[in-house]
Amino acid sequence: MEQFLRNIFDNDFFVYGIIGIIPLVWIIPYALFVIYLERKVSAHMQDRLGPMRTGGWHGWSQTIADMLKLLQKEDIVPAAADKKLHKIAPFVIFIGSYAAYAVIPFSSQYVGSNISLGLLYVIAISSLAVVGILMAGWASNNKWSLLGAMRAVAQIVSYEIPTILSILVVVMIAGSLNLQDINEMQSGWFWNWFIFKNFPFVFIAFIIYFIASLAETNRTPFDIPEAESELVAGYITEYSGMKFAMFMLSEFVNMFAVSAIAATIFFGGWNSPFGEFLSGPLWGVFWFLSKGMVFVFVQMWLRWTLPRLRVDQLMYVSWKVLTPWAFGCIIGVGLWMVL
């Protein structure tokens, strides 16, 4: 991809600019579609219909209308807010979630930056969201926002540990932190995927990763930072208009980012499940995006199944269940590889 672009333009600025914008080309339509999908899935899981009016067929343009509304809305900054922090917080969060896409391989030919520390970079950069959340909560000067932000930080920081440990299981098997290398190791038929290796340790690691990633993206059942029934909207309470839209966008971007990483490290990423059948750079994009979307759907599915966890239950799950089990997986895989 990079070579191809370099043949067209001999300017680094254009080459890297285009490479950097490609994930955004996916993210914007994806966010519009997934917000619509989430409303439809939630409605149908509760035997409702969801948006049905806007745009004719099943309200397909509802999110476009919502986006246009948010663009026109007044940008309200509370009088007592810390104005600078209040302004940059949504962008910090969005940068954190978008930067993760730099190393996610969309296809065998396209990855933003093929660095050898890809997984480490993803873990590190997605923690930037914590800073943004705390900024938003603190700058709003609102008790609900601050409570939500503190809960979010406590939650994200404690769930980083099981996430990293479960990713470490894959790293041990692959022997590499480069996501493109990890993908290539899983090529061939679907039984080459890491999820089926060293059964059941990697499978348990995947479950742990998925649960922890739900918590990291503040999705139900781990949505106490936004808990609308207790905290209005958590750290988003004081935001309106496009800044609110940035928070929403980064939530959905994060959802896809964690799903994409799950798909990449456990489910073969852009590899076709059927060997050489329908494989290739463009089909790779298709497989990668569909695998990611399946996990996004599972996240929605869980959201409408499970009630919110209490703070103490949340910490119990993280420290007493997920972390020890993730350590167990590491030991199991380690013994498997030594023996």
Binding site: V41, A43, H44, M45, Q46, D47, R48, L49, M52, W301, L302, W304, T305, L306, K320, V321
Partner: protein, 199 residues
Amino acid sequence: MKKYFTDIAKAVWTVLIGMKITLGHLFVPAVTIQYPDVKLKLPERARNRLFVNMDDCIGCLQCEMACPVNCITIETMKSLPTDDLGTTSTGMKKKLWVTRFDIDIAKCCYCGLCVYPCPTECIKMTEVYEFSEFERNNLLYNYVTLTQPEIDVIKTKIASSEKEQATKKAAEAQAKQTPAPPAPPRPGKDDKKGGAQKT
């Protein structure tokens, strides 16, 4: 320690059960009705907008009296013996001109109490329930079929006949009065007075 593992197993198992249920509901047809496009069939004897069939109304005021919120206003005028107002569909002879029959549907509480006493079954509930208005005055329904000129004609007619009758009565009274003897004095009153003075 045992509880720790059973709790985890239980959590995983119950999450799976819950996911099975929600996935099942994803394919259950929605219960929502797209209201303006699809309308539910109203139950039998549903109470909605009132309607008065003025051809059958005899102006008996029973509905007005039955109304607990006084939303019905009726004014009637007696017809002359020479007028023929026709009969109702139930065969009752109409004797009163109904010059005003207003229902303020904004006040109406849809109790249906006006419907039962009507002897000719001319006031009834219809199936119409979409009649919201931007002006409150538009909710004052006029059911009278007589136009204002017609009412004026009737009024003058009645007035003239009343006048006629009054003159007739006066003439009669005069005719009666002339031959009548002067009223006899009432002696009882004086007696009583005198008796009271005595005691």
